[in-house]
């Protein structure tokens, strides 16, 4: 086995402390300290609960994005897909209320529609990249525009709202939970756990890293490159669908602005987490931390009145760059 095929996580750190591996966690700790200084409310269970629940959408999508980016690809269509799938799910559920009445079956069909759309979209992206021999960037730039305009079209430029009876039944999926932990957080945890298992413990995870490291070497090593890449996109689509399932009950609506820029947030979460944009190795737990950090920055800025609201973007940008810079330290020395 060549070193390039070996996933990063399997490598033993050469020195005692690998900043690259623990960097995201250190940055997160720093952010938590900062938050506590800014406002003591920050650490209240209510606030932490809100923040983690909010993170779930981007987090789940980012877990999927970790696989795509690890193979050296990229998916820009996730935000638009989330909006499109939310819209279609709402339309389907609204349409079914007439014949089936408001009840659990309608919601189950809605969930299946969302999952089906996610899988189909992932398949389309993946096939265009592998069989169509196109750059992932271009393919998903195209589908990004398609999904976005489709949801605008379905909503007639306005907002699609979920039938209020269905909404009442579906609502607890976002707002409810067990032992005080909301379902979105649980879903996020489960997705991350499964993601980590796939990434670190399966052949597929190792192949993703191998392809991202060097596609040619992977091909010569008898890896079915196309199938692995296709599967990575399908996984991404599925993750978006899961995010949609917990997103729809939150506000019960979808519009042309739903999921705007989520693709960039997901990519940022992955990169802050220590995965390289050019592929080669993926870190699921880093991605989770990255996603939490992104939401925390927003939260902390909202909890303080000290910084001009005009500068929010600057603060966010600086924190993201510093977080990644921290991790680059060890790379340069290697």
């Amino acid at each position: 086995m060549t070193p390039s095929v070996m996933p990063e996580a399997a490598r033993k750190p050469s020195s005692g402390f690998d900043l690259k591996l623990y960097g995201p966690f250190l940055a997160l700790a720093a952010l938590i300290v900062l938050g506590t200084i800014v406002n003591p409310v920050f650490l209240s269970p209510g606030n932490i609960g809100n923040v983690l629940t909010r993170t779930a959408f981007i987090g789940i999508i980012a877990v999927g994005a970790t696989f795509v980016i690890t193979t050296g690809g990229i998916d820009l269509s996730v935000g638009s897909l989330a909006a499109f799938a939310s819209g279609v799910t709402i339309v389907v559920m609204n349409a079914l209320v007439g014949s089936m009445g408001a009840g659990l079956p309608v919601i189950l069909i809605g969930v299946l529609v969302a999952l089906g759309l996610g899988l189909a979209a992932g398949l389309v992206n993946g096939l265009l990249v592998t069989k169509g021999r196109m750059e992932a960037f271009i393919v998903t730039l195209g589908t990004m525009g398609i999904f976005r305009s489709l949801v605008t079209y379905i909503a007639d430029g306005g907002t699609l709202s979920l039938n209020s009876e269905i909404r009442t039944i579906y609502r607890p999926v976002y707002y409810g939970g067990v032992f005080g932990i909301s379902y979105p957080i649980l879903a996020f945890a489960v997705v991350a756990l499964i993601g980590a298992l796939i990434m670190y413990r399966t052949r597929f995870g190792r192949y993703c890293a191998a392809i991202g490291s060097s596609e040619d070497v992977a091909r010569y090593s008898a890896i079915n490159v196309d199938r692995v890449k296709l599967l990575a996109f399908v996984l991404q689509g599925l993750c978006v669908a899961i995010a949609v399932v917990i997103y729809v009950p939150r506000l019960g609506s979808a519009s042309a602005t739903t999921g705007l820029l989520w693709e960039l947030e997901a990519i940022a979460a992955v990169i802050i987490g220590g995965t390289m944009l050019k592929g080669g190795y993926g870190r699921i737990w880093g991605t989770v931390v990255g996603a939490v950090m992104l939401t925390l920055i927003d939260n902390i800025l909202n909890l303080t009145g000290a910084i001009s609201v005009y500068l929010n973007g600057t603060i966010q940008g600086v924190i993201i760059i510093v977080a990644v810079l921290l991790q680059r330290g060890t790379v340069a020395r290697r």
């Binding site: 605008t152 042309a256 609201v309 005009y310």
Partner: protein, 317 residues
């Protein structure tokens, strides 16, 4: 080579046919350039524009209305060029994406001898426009503040959710702050929620954790307000405060109509203003009706008493 020849031939043929066709129709053409339906209010704008198109073309058989939508300033400038050169319009009704960058493209239309109606967001050089139809942004802030002052008896703690950092947003917020000056109303916090439900929800959640007591929320916009409502409900603090949005979204007007305690009123900033602008322009073009130079649409306070008048159940917004 053959392609070029074909193109040239087509162009030549087009040039010969075009004037004849134009003469044969003798229709009056009105171009309408508006932002694409990428958010709720713009969606309503598009809907009202299309309704007005149908209505006007029926009312005036020799009027042809062409609506074009653009996603950004650059595309809107292109649209104007096409309207003049390809569509050969007689008049333009435009809601500029942004004031400064669209001023020169609209000036070019004016210099080509077209009648120009500007809607909502003004140009930096008002001398270009023949007619100006607009909502009143400072008044929107003022009316909102006055309602909250009365409702709260001149004292209490509020939070403000702003739109996107733009001139419009500043006008609204500045007028609002000026109106509550001297009262005992305290603004606890102010953040941008980008005229968006998701952001309204998030920012409000954080405000709710940060402030143990909030008497009222000025959400400024109905999309933001819907997100705020969910956050307040989740925190179980509906009884503590009321929420004032703005724009005239049908869901919010409905709530006001139904006497929702959480949403006692709404302030109009109607997307229907495009229809009004189109109607006045068409009337002037076809019937040569005299017009004022400016029509400012009042930021009316919608209360349970007058809500039915502003309720469009078929509109997407």
């Amino acid at each position: 080579m053959t392609f070029r020849f074909a193109l040239a031939a087509a162009l030549a043929a087009g040039l010969m046919v075009a004037p004849v066709a134009g003469w044969a129709q003798q229709k009056i053409k009105m171009g309408v350039s508006i932002p694409a339906a990428t958010h709720g209010w713009a969606g309503g704008l598009n809907w009202h524009a299309q309704q007005a198109e149908k209505r006007l073309e029926k009312q005036y058989p020799n009027l042809d209305v062409v609506i074009v939508t653009a996603r950004d300033v650059g595309r809107q400038a292109n649209d104007l060029e096409d309207l003049v050169s390809v569509q050969r319009i007689d008049a333009l009704v435009i809601l500029p994406f942004e004031s400064a960058p669209m001023t020169d493209p609209v000036r070019a239309v004016k210099q080509a001898g077209k009648f120009v109606t500007v809607v909502d967001r003004g140009l930096t050089d008002p001398s270009i426009q023949d007619l100006y139809v607009a909502g009143n942004n400072p008044q929107m802030g003022e009316v909102s503040a006055r309602f909250m002052k009365e409702k709260m008896g001149g004292k209490g703690d509020i939070v403000v959710l702003r739109g996107i950092p733009t001139v419009i947003d500043n006008q609204r917020v500045d007028a609002f702050m000026k109106e509550i000056e001297g009262t005992q109303i305290k603004v606890l916090g102010m953040q941008y929620a980008n005229w968006n439900r998701d952001d309204g929800f998030k920012v409000m959640q954080d405000f709710l954790s940060r402030f143990p007591k909030i008497d009222a929320v000025w959400a400024q916009d109905d999309d933001i307000a819907l997100g705020v409502i969910e956050a307040v409900k989740q925190a179980g603090r509906e009884k503590e405060m009321f929420i004032l949005g703005g724009a005239g979204m049908k869901d919010m007007i409905k709530r006001v109509m139904d006497k929702d305690v959480l949403v006692p009123a709404d302030v109009l900033y109607p997307p229907a203003m495009i229809a009004e602008a189109m109607e006045i322009t068409a009337k002037h073009l076809v019937e040569k009706a005299p017009i004022q130079k400016e029509y400012i649409i009042e930021a009316t306070l919608v209360t349970p008493e007058n809500a039915a008048k502003y309720y469009y159940p078929d509109s997407p917004f």
